[in-house]
Symmetry: C2
Subunit: 185 residues, 2 copies
């Protein structure tokens, strides 16, 4: 059921992932879905949880400055694995319906740096906002490109992945900022 929904998400994208289409994919009446979920947002929350759980958590190295970027990259991969994955997780998170595993993994990695819980929590939240915003934007462009609206990413003149570069740069900014924070206390 959630599997069918994830497949449909990948096929048609979030804007076209309607309860009626999902029902049709399951060869069932729309009203039947409401025996499994109280409403659409709850159903999307289950998708969000599955999207995030996609990749197993990276083994921690003991060095937070290595683990934080690794967790961020793993999260990005999980989000990219499904069409509009970032948006699904974003909306679920903002409604407080789940997807908190993502925040926890980032916070756990940061905590290794010896930061207090409030600092780690705030840093993790800030980093999560960046990751979601970045990947969301990335996926938006993927759609535009595939629709031929714009030239299909000039990006890699030299075989480089500009999106991944910009992502790594943003994550590094956080790590460097945290490092500076710890050295000035």
């Amino acid at each position: 059921m959630a599997r069918a929904a994830l497949r449909l998400l990948d096929d048609v994208g979030l804007p076209d992932l309607t309860m009626r289409r999902l029902a049709a994919a399951l060869e069932v009446q729309p009203s039947a879905l409401y025996h499994h979920f109280p409403n659409k947002q709850t159903m999307l929350a289950e998708l969000a949880d599955r999207i995030i759980a996609g990749r197993p958590a990276v083994v921690h190295s003991g060095d937070w400055a290595v683990d934080v970027p690794a967790q961020a990259a793993a999260l990005r991969d999980s989000l990219l694995a499904y069409r509009d994955g970032a948006e699904v997780v974003e909306s679920t998170l903002s409604l407080g319906l789940g997807a908190d595993a993502a925040l926890r993994r980032l916070a756990d990695a940061i905590v290794q740096g010896g930061f207090d819980d409030e600092t780690a929590g705030r840093a993790a939240t800030a980093l999560l906002h960046f990751v979601l915003g970045h990947v969301s934007h990335e996926q938006q462009r993927l759609q535009y490109d595939s629709l031929g609206v714009v030239a299909p990413r000039v990006a890699d003149e030299h075989g480089l992945d500009t999106s991944a570069d910009a992502f790594a740069f943003g994550v590094d900014l956080f790590v460097a900022g945290l490092r500076a924070h710890v050295s000035t206390r």
Copy 2:
């Protein structure tokens, strides 16, 4: 017209800001709106531009480490000035329909630090993602609180504004990260 839409946004929120309601507020038929905007997203893009233009840009001090947080704070204020302001800007930006003034202001402030354009652009994008994500979350909670879904923010036991604090912390992380970046090149 855009003014009426902004008032309606403030009254009912983004999910209930429909073309039909807007038409009713203007005492006009829904179809009449399509003589002013080609579609709903374009209309939201105009709102996004007006929301961002809300506060005049802060005068620059010459010190990027002062100006960047100031621009970020001014942007936050602009977004908070309208219900669901962050979400309106987020969606407009991700569709590439406008609201680029926000990114420009952040990038201009960062550039003063002597960073090259690519670095400044990437840092500005990362910071903007954080700002939008943070304020969006902030506004989501404002709604929940006003609906009495949760206790109205335990937050300020000592009269502190936890949201603003967390925001400033996130911005500082960026500034500290950028500073570290410049000192290691």
